[in-house]
């Protein structure tokens, strides 16, 4: 198949776009596709999606001033993060916390990690993580009416909470 645009080269890029239910097809060579920015136009990037999630924000009290935030370590501002949809360093998660928490809630329907913990994480982190896992386990045990096992898990949660309060290693 020959490129529709230059009628010279072999068409190697084939795109289909559906707008309001009308299907449009285009067959272009690499060069013409590149010039037309086709690859970009026909795909939705992560930043488009994240940008969309970030945009319609009510001017709530919590998020006021978030746009002005700047990370002292990497220098990234919240506005830059919104443009790139990528963070600049680990510290950004703390600095932009107020803006990130609602965003994570939208993407993941959760804002609390409960998966693997690095083996070299400090014992406080490991205990906190364990606590989150146990609380989830307790929920599902109660739901499935496994009260005996739920009581055991509840006791472990209490012990862990006491340890964490006292700062026991």
């Amino acid at each position: 198949m020959i490129c529709e645009k230059c009628s010279k080269n072999h068409a190697t890029v084939h795109v289909t776009e559906v707008v309001n239910g009308v299907k449009k097809e285009a067959h272009l060579c690499d060069e013409c596709a590149g010039k037309a920015g086709v690859g970009i136009k026909f795909t939705l990037s992560v930043s488009d999606i994240l940008g969309g999630l970030l945009e319609p924000k009510p001017a709530g009290k919590k998020t006021e001033g978030v746009a002005q935030l700047r990370c002292p370590e990497c220098g990234m501002t919240y506005t830059q993060f919104k443009e790139k949809a990528r963070l600049g360093c680990a510290n950004d998660y703390e600095v932009f916390r107020a803006g990130l928490v609602p965003l994570l809630e939208k993407i993941h329907q959760s804002t609390q990690h409960c998966g693997k913990t690095p083996h070299n994480a400090d014992s406080q982190t490991r205990k906190e993580n364990e606590l989150v896992k146990l609380k989830r386990e307790l929920d599902s045990l109660v739901k499935s009416e496994n009260f005996e096992r739920a009581a055991e898990v509840r006791d472990r949660i209490r012990t862990l909470e006491t340890d964490l309060d006292k700062g026991v290693e």
Binding site: A90, L104, H108
Partner: protein, 350 residues
């Protein structure tokens, strides 16, 4: 090992030997990790990338070499070599086209690879043939734990493993199951599949990942949520979803056999005939015909063509593979001739 050596073998995951391999091509699990105290790559100047690569390589040499995992510095490799790795699903397109110091460590059997300085400092992946999530995850988890003993990853008690993009934060775990759905596509049922998967938070993409359109009736189904669930939860949930997709595809395959057996046989045999006799064929046409042939092999319409051969042809007929095999750059129309010849040679006469 050199990149050219890959041409003499095919990835373990292409064997077509894993569970449910009539529909599931491969299972891929990947973890996103960043090094503690290094800035993310979004804003990192070139010198930081160099430092990250050096830091990682020193440890890789010691840890991975005995495991037959070898490092390839992409910045010093030709574009053709880099695209070959994309075609083999060992690195992403973005990584091949990226800038600055970056690389990939690849296991000899191609089941494991670690991209260095892609979007995150490290992207660890394990590939398995068929539906094999648990084994793939266990292998990936061991690799992650091994690395973690020699480098600190950025971790936050609330947000988990910290990633450049908030869509990966938490576990950093993305599971992609590559499925072949020719009957669902042919029967115009894909909209249903896509919509129902999206409704339960799964993404569906084409053969080569993000931003690629579906080709050859191949789709990658992956989890969107990485935070707030354990790695096991993510696997268990996908384990519940995938069988529904398999059931759906198989029921449409059987419907085709029952309702339109002649049409189906004709479609399959025509695909074989063109592949076996064409003198010039585009990459796109090859993939579409291979898809029909694969369906024919799985439905016992065609006997004597190993599924492994069909799976391999999907990869080896890609542009970079052909040019590496021919050892020279080829224009698209020259590639079409070489491709046709390659397919003719590989497909057994029946």
């Amino acid at each position: 090992m050199k990149v050219d050596d890959f041409l003499g073998q095919s990835g373990e995951w292409l064997k077509g030997s894993g569970p449910e391999s009539d529909v599931v091509i491969s299972s891929r699990v990947r973890l996103a990790r960043n090094l503690h105290r290094f800035p993310f790559l979004t804003i990192a100047p070139p010198s930081e990338r160099t430092q990250v690569e050096q830091f990682v390589r020193e440890r890789f040499d010691e840890l991975l070499a005995p495991r037959k995992i070898q490092y390839f510095p992409l910045a010093r490799m030709s574009q053709l070599d880099r695209t070959l790795l994309v075609e083999r699903h060992l690195i992403s397109r973005e990584h091949a086209q990226g800038e600055g110091d970056r690389g990939v460590a690849i296991a000899q059997d191609e089941s494991t690879s670690i991209m260095v300085n892609e979007e995150d400092h490290l992207r660890l992946q394990v590939l398995r043939s068929g539906l094999n999530l648990e084994e793939a995850w266990e292998s990936l988890d061991r690799l992650d734990t091994l690395l973690e003993q020699h480098m600190n990853f950025a971790f936050h008690p609330r947000f988990g493993y910290l990633t450049c993009c908030p869509t990966n934060v938490g576990t950093g775990l993305r599971i992609s199951v590559m499925v072949h759905l020719p009957a669902a596509v042919f029967s115009k049922q894909m909209e249903k599949v896509l919509q129902s998967l999206q409704r339960v938070n799964y993404t569906v993409r084409g053969l080569y990942g993000e931003g690629t359109s579906p080709i050859g009736d191949m789709y990658q189904i992956s989890n969107q949520v990485t935070l707030g669930k354990t790695e096991k939860d993510i696997i268990v949930e996908l384990r519940r979803v995938i069988p529904e997709v398999l059931k759906f595809e198989r029921s449409w395959r059987h419907k085709l056999i029952d309702d339109r057996p002649r049409m189906l046989e004709d479609k399959v045999w025509r695909a074989y005939a063109i592949l076996k006799h064409a003198r010039s064929i585009s990459s796109e046409e090859t993939i579409e015909l291979l898809s029909a042939l694969r369906l024919g092999v799985n439905l016992n319409i065609v006997h004597g063509v190993p599924i492994e051969t069909v799976n391999e042809l999907f990869i080896f007929t890609q542009p970079s593979h052909l040019q590496k095999i021919e050892k020279k750059m080829l224009e698209p129309d020259e590639r079409d001739v070489v491709r046709a010849e390659f397919v003719r040679k590989k497909l057994p006469s029946l």
